[in-house]
């Protein structure tokens, strides 16, 4: 295999005496959907935050397509093709759906130090926004303020925003969080489509979704990767069953 798209090596992050990320190493190959699962408090969000640049590790390294990005600020990583969605929806509530997505496109289309021309009339940006909204099935809600959208719709906008930056790698932090059954199914279907175009790191609690989607799964417990492999291998892994999945009776029934 060639250089992995994302390589995480021996990452360590402590909060006081607690080791939230304990020597984590992972590779995400190009085109792969890599799921990270683990019980509450396993350090999934801490790990994601170090990948996106919102949190600095104490040691170890993160590299994207061979380039060391361990200490790059979030906005620079984004320019290199790393996009994220937030576990807790984080959008510009007083902007329309289209504006939210168009801003993401704008960030990757030349300088934003333009002071005079009306940005809402830039066809390329609007088209990109509508394409991304269409992708997540929300084209008809483009001109609605995000504050007026439902929770499920906002989750989809999160995804559209991430897509609009044309990322190489998408980091999705619990995209199903708070979604109803039908909405979750819609999201799984959408991710199934997206994975054909972009590599994805998926952090998720919804086990059926993870096992349906992932090429590979890494299991995080107390900040440490206890297993990593394809869904079948994870299903069969005794450590995983004991540490995590067994409690939820998902694997045996799934």
């Amino acid at each position: 295999m060639a250089e992995p798209l994302l390589r995480v090596e021996k990452l360590v992050r402590r909060f006081g005496g607690i080791i939230a990320t304990d020597n984590v190493s992972l590779d995400v190959a190009s085109g792969e959907l890599h799921a990270i699962i683990g019980p509450n408090g396993a350090g999934k969000t801490t790990l994601i935050s170090q990948l996106t640049g919102h949190l600095e590790p104490h040691s170890g390294s993160v590299s994207l397509a061979g380039r060391d990005i361990t200490y790059l600020p979030a906005y620079r990583r984004c320019a290199l093709g790393l996009a994220r969605s937030f576990q807790i929806t984080s959008l510009l509530l007083d902007f329309t759906a289209a504006d939210n997505v168009a801003l993401a496109a704008q960030a990757h289309a030349g300088t934003s130090f333009r002071f005079f021309a009306n940005a809402r009339k830039e066809k390329a940006l609007r088209d990109a926004a509508h394409a991304a909204l269409d992708r997540v099935g929300l084209a008809h809600r483009a001109d609605v303020l995000v504050s007026k959208l439902s929770h499920g719709e906002r989750r989809q906008i999160e995804l559209a925003v991430a897509l609009a930056s044309k990322p190489k790698l998408l980091l999705l932090d619990e995209p199903m969080a708070g979604l109803g059954v039908t909405e979750s199914q819609g999201m799984v279907k959408l991710l199934q489509e997206l994975r054909k175009e972009v590599s994805i790191v998926l952090v998720e609690h919804d086990m059926p979704a993870v096992f349906a989607l992932a090429d590979r799964i890494s299991v995080l417990v107390y900040g440490r990767v206890i297993a990593s492999g394809d869904p079948a291998a994870i299903r069969a892994n005794e450590d995983v069953k004991r540490a995590y999945l067994g409690d939820q009776h998902v694997v045996t029934h799934g």
């Binding site: 906005y75 509530l93 801003l103 993401a104 333009r114 005079f116 940005a119 925003v161």
Partner: protein, 314 residues
């Protein structure tokens, strides 16, 4: 969209009134009203510049009056040193304001929220004390500007009507610029940062750079107001930079409607007219003014512009 017509009609009425005011002053022989409104327009310009960072950018600067002083002192000091040309005075006033904004902004924007308010206030108070210490330029007592800026016959600032229209043109020009800026790429980024900074960073925008540029633009615009103000009063003193003046500007913005294009003008007109007329009625005018403002801010969310919008809907 009925609500738009009410606030738009009120705005149009106010703007028409401002344009026609010199005519009324001429016909009625009321010179005072022209002087009063020249001052109102200059402070409306300052409020509009503050609104750019406060209303659109979410940066609560509590030291905006510093630029009034810097612009004013640039004119006054140059005049005292024998440089009377407005073509030099005004660019120097703008440049000095821009440099001050760049330095203060670079330091202040490291902080957020209350700390940002406090640090901008602290810098403005420093500017106030520096001006008080300028013995050569009048110190505490201020500096008289004996000759208004000279624009080589292009426009005569000593002519009341001409000066009024110069100020009005500056105000309209600044409002036009702000209108373009807030709808531009840059403006959307700045407003996005007000709304959700974390999100903007995540989609690839370095927050501080955009905020700093916005801060500098705003300060430069307010420096223009300062240069006009010194010409209007033929005088500049540290008092124009005092924190209460910064507070007045904030009140005008909030009163008129933060983040609206014409709100600051509306706010400045209402605030300064109230101040003028209440102070004619009673010495204790602030006792009436205070509660009045409190009521408007408490019950009129979105300021006057917000209330007009709701009046149209209801």
């Amino acid at each position: 969209m009925k609500n738009f017509t009410v606030s738009k009609a009120a705005t149009a009425l106010m703007l028409a009134g401002l344009v026609l005011l010199p005519l009324y002053s001429q016909l009625s022989g009321n010179v005072f009203i022209l002087t009063l409104f020249t001052r109102i327009i200059i402070l409306a310009l300052a409020a509009a510049s503050l609104n750019l960072i406060m209303g659109f950018g979410g940066m609560m600067s509590f030291g905006h009056a510093a630029y009034l002083g810097i612009g004013g002192y640039a004119v006054g000091m140059l005049a005292q040193e024998g440089v009377g040309s407005g073509f030099i005075q005004f660019p120097v006033a703008l440049a000095a304001s821009a440099i001050y904004a760049l330095v203060i902004g670079a330091l202040s924007l490291r902080t957020r929220g209350v700390y940002f308010i406090m640090i901008t206030l602290a810098f403005a108070q420093m500017a106030y004390y520096v001006a008080s210490g300028l013995a050569r330029y009048g110190g505490d007592d201020g500096l008289t500007v004996y000759n208004r800026s000279d624009f080589s016959g292009l426009i005569n600032l000593s002519n009341r009507t001409q000066f009024y229209y110069l100020c009005l043109a500056c105000l309209f020009g600044v409002i036009f610029l702000i209108w373009r800026i807030v709808n531009s790429r840059f403006g959307l980024v700045v407003q996005g940062l007000r709304s959700n900074e974390q999100r903007m960073q995540a989609i690839g925008f370095p927050a501080k750079r955009y905020q700093l540029v916005c801060f500098v633009i705003s300060g430069t615009m307010c420096g223009l107001a300062g240069a006009l103000l010194a010409n209007n009063t033929d005088f500049v003193s540290p008092a124009v930079m005092y924190w209460t003046r910064s507070g007045d500007l904030m009140v005008m913005v909030i009163l008129g409607g933060m983040g609206t294009l014409f709100g600051p003008i509306m706010g400045a007109v209402v605030f300064l007219l109230l101040e003028e007329f209440l102070s004619q009625i009673t010495e204790y005018w602030a006792l009436i003014m205070g509660p009045l403002l409190l009521l408007i801010v408490l019950f009129g969310r979105g300021g006057i512009m917000g209330m007009l919008g709701r009046a149209g809907r209801g």
